[in-house]
Amino acid sequence: MKQTKFSPSLRKITESKLFFPTLTLALILLFDLITVPNFFSIQIRNGNLYGSLIDIFRNASAVMLLSIGMTLVIATGGVDLSVGAVMAIAASVAALLMNPYVLATELPPHLMKLINDPQFTYQPLWIVIIVTLIVATICGLWNGLLVAYVRIQPMVATLILMIAGRGIAQLITNGVRIQIFYEPYAFIGQGWKILPFSLYLVAFVFVIAWIITRRTAIGLFIESVGINFRSSYFSGIDEKKIKLLAYSFCGLCAGIAGLVASSNIKTSDAYNIGMTLELDAILAVVIGGTVMGIGGRFSLLASLIGAVVIQAITTSMYAIGVQAFALQAIKGLVVIFVILLYSEQVRGFIRKLTVQKEAKP
């Protein structure tokens, strides 16, 4: 076989999973730079940073969290439709643990006072968080069991919890939308420490996921199972456990996203929290270049950028004055554009461009 000459650097950039999401994001931001005055201005108040750019990232944090877990699930060749519903379940569990008195029909006056006391919580915050995340992980585990052991198609298996989940969330709070008054809880979604606190959470989860997948063999096994689960099984990989792990982790991520979302709106609203966010999360992963339905190669960072792309579209549309009702349609157009970028034809075209450039001395 003869080697054709090519400069590895340029090709490496265009073939990287990060290339298209970053390019898309850059295009959107360029659009903002031209059309929206002061879009990039950042103010400093009390040592914290504020601005449209920061807002994009802050508002994307829930979808970013979801997209980390979703990446692993999609890489195994599956999908998790239930993450939005799991967010709602997590919100309900957290709200109930902080203030179960809301559900009581009659309360003595001294307890009545506690209901809207911003300093009161029934369980300490750390227990609230841990229990909530355990419940969310169990939700993911359930999905994983259905997919890996009962062998139900992922789309169908997770559809069960997607539908039932919001009902369960309601059951937990007895159908009541619990308002969350406890002040420290609000910090999760609304706190600021130079940057929004939720972004540190995203970074933390990302680093953990990265270590799990790239500093152990789990990432390789996830990719291998997604590409060819039979070959993986023949090679001694326990594909069932790998899938179980991916779905459980996805549930955990949904739980954290649920904490962020409920802290943001200060209620456990089973019908609003995480609504249709599973679709955004899937879209983020797809923009990040992990192939839906096939799985295999994945990039966590590319998925995160994908999540930011989605939020950047929304924020930019609002910034140029697009009405809320028109937003979905415009988002759809942008998505089509992004997906076109990924098509074999466009990739082939770009490959050709780089080859031609390389051919010149």
Binding site: K2, Q3, T4, A217, N228, S235
Partner: protein, 508 residues
């Protein structure tokens, strides 16, 4: 060499060039096909045969060069377009839908209709007729394709492509690699019939015997360039092989010596002992012993139970009778993972479906089983991975631009080597190789056979499964014969090939 008279040419490909990232797959290749001829396309692994076929059938676009069909220049845009031009192909890897029935597979896209919906009854009878008429096989066409053996699936693929009425050109890419002798003869009958009807057939195979039996002309490609086109009757086998591999073939001779030498390396140590091991409906209870340094061949026809026996030993299936003892320990837990940890590995028959992980790199494919044996958390460092990959790329002479090449870009033979490397990296004591040389060229085949013997010399035990009896006989110290999912005989020492063939046929 090349024919100057173009009036009897069905196809004429001129100056075809095609490059893939990092590889010049075809360089200025010419190829002709006449009316009513069977034209063998020969070459080693990665020589460019498949690429040439892909260019002809519109799967790949050539970078330059032209294709003349019946004297007119055409540009083949897609496989569908090729089909509409009368070019039909049966690929080496079966490209049918295993979850559809045999009948649906044969008539897909051309289903008989009634009242605007598919006329199922007619569909099934038509499909049955086609199979009987073309290949003379009678099977239940309402069962899903996937429930049949690879051989039957291959036959269905052939029937399907032949059924396309106006096929003037038929391309058979390794159609016989999973067929038994009898089935191959059937296929040859069909090929001769089509030839007499004026169809031009391009026949790709690694079986030299078959080339001489059926082909009129031979075109040899090596490293993406044309070596030449020859009349089969004027080219000796030795010349052909020399042209294919670019050097004279002495490896095979060397090997016979090696086998004789390895016999004395067999130690008494029993590494694998199966007693009355069986699974209802799959394979009847059988006994099998394997000693360190020994190669045991499993001979038998397609569907005789070879693969089923191997699956039981490797723990893909759990036996419902008997016992299995490996390295002195009785096996309780049957799973691939447990087997690998015990030092027993299986290189599966179906390379595409159960062997390679095609989107992973050569390096990752090689370390995969080793890593699985070490578990999730003892991650083999990148540097160590590279060392291991380089070692086996070198050892097995795997042709790849680098260890980071995606494995699906490699040729079939090199993919097979990658799978062997994957198993060797786990340092196994027992290797079960199920059809390790299927669809692989002569040179590589000899290399793999030699490798098996040298492994035995190192004290490893091997079970060697192959459809080619000669190959089994050449490599094995002992041969177990299977017939109708039952072990029927065992031979050691020098055995007459006819004796084995009779017991394979169940006559002894």
């Amino acid at each position: 060499m090349a024919d100057k008279d173009t009036s009897d040419l069905l196809i004429s490909m001129r100056g075809i060039n095609k490059a893939f990232p990092g590889v010049q797959a075809l360089e200025n290749v010419d190829f002709d096909l006449r009316y009513g001829e069977i034209h063998a396309l020969m070459g080693g692994n990665g020589a460019g045969k498949s690429t040439l076929i892909k260019v002809l059938t519109g799967v790949e676009r050539p970078d330059s060069g032209k294709i003349l069909l019946l004297g007119k220049e055409v540009s083949v845009k897609s496989p569908q377009h090729a089909q509409s031009l009368g070019i039909s192909t049966v690929y080496q890897e079966i490209n049918l839908c295993p979850n559809l029935t045999v009948a649906e597979n044969i008539l897909i896209g051309r289903e008989p209709m009634k009242w605007g919906s598919i006329h199922w009854k007619k569909l099934n009878t038509q499909a049955k007729e086609i199979l009987l008429r073309i290949l003379g096989i009678d099977i239940d066409v309402t069962r899903t394709l996937g429930s049949y053996s690879v051989a039957i699936q291959q036959m269905v693929a052939i029937a399907r492509s032949l059924e396309i009425e106006f096929a003037k050109i038929l391309i058979l890419d390794e159609p016989t690699s999973s067929l038994s002798t009898h089935e191959t003869e059937q296929l040859f009958g069909v090929m001769r019939k089509l030839k007499s009807e004026g169809v031009g057939i391009i026949f790709i195979t690694h079986f030299i015997d078959q080339v001489y039996k059926i082909s009129d002309r031979i075109t040899v490609i090596r490293n993406g360039t044309l070596v030449g086109t020859f009349d089969t009757s004027t080219l000796s086998r030795m010349e052909l092989i020399t042209k294919m591999i670019g050097r004279s073939i002495t490896v095979l001779d060397e090997m016979l010596k090696t086998k004789a030498e390895t016999v004395k390396h067999i130690r008494g140590e029993n590494v694998l002992q199966a007693r009355e091991l069986g699974q209802t409906g799959e394979i009847e209870p059988f006994d099998l012993d394997l000693h360190a340094g020994e190669v045991v061949g499993l001979a038998g026809l397609m569907g005789s139970g070879r693969t089923e026996a191997a699956s039981l030993l490797f723990g893909l299936e759990t036996p419902d009778s008997g016992s299995l003892t490996i390295a002195g320990k009785r096996v309780e837990k049957f799973s691939p993972n447990a087997s690998i940890k015990r030092g027993l590995v299986l290189s599966p028959e179906d390379r595409k479906a159960a062997g390679i992980v095609d989107d992973l790199s050569v390096r990752e494919n090689i370390i995969l089983a080793m890593q699985a044996g070490q578990g999730w958390f003892k991650y083999i460092s990148r540097q160590k991975q590279e060392e291991i990959a380089d070692k086996y790329i070198h050892l097995l002479d795997i042709a790849t631009p680098s260890a980071d090449q995606i494995v699906k870009n490699l040729s079939g033979g090199n993919q097979q080597k990658v799978i062997l490397a994957r198993w060797l990296a786990t340092n196994p004591q027992v290797l079960i190789l199920d059809e390790p040389t299927r669809g692989i060229d002569v040179g590589t085949k000899a290399e793999i056979q030699k490798l098996v013997l040298s492994l035995a010399e190192d004290g490893k035990a091997c079970i060697f499964i192959s459809s080619e009896l000669e190959e089994v006989m050449r490599c094995s110290h002992r041969i177990a014969v299977l017939c109708d999912r039952k072990k029927v005989a065992e031979y050691s020492g020098e055995v007459d090939q006819n004796v084995i063939m009779h017991s394979m046929a169940g006559e002894l």
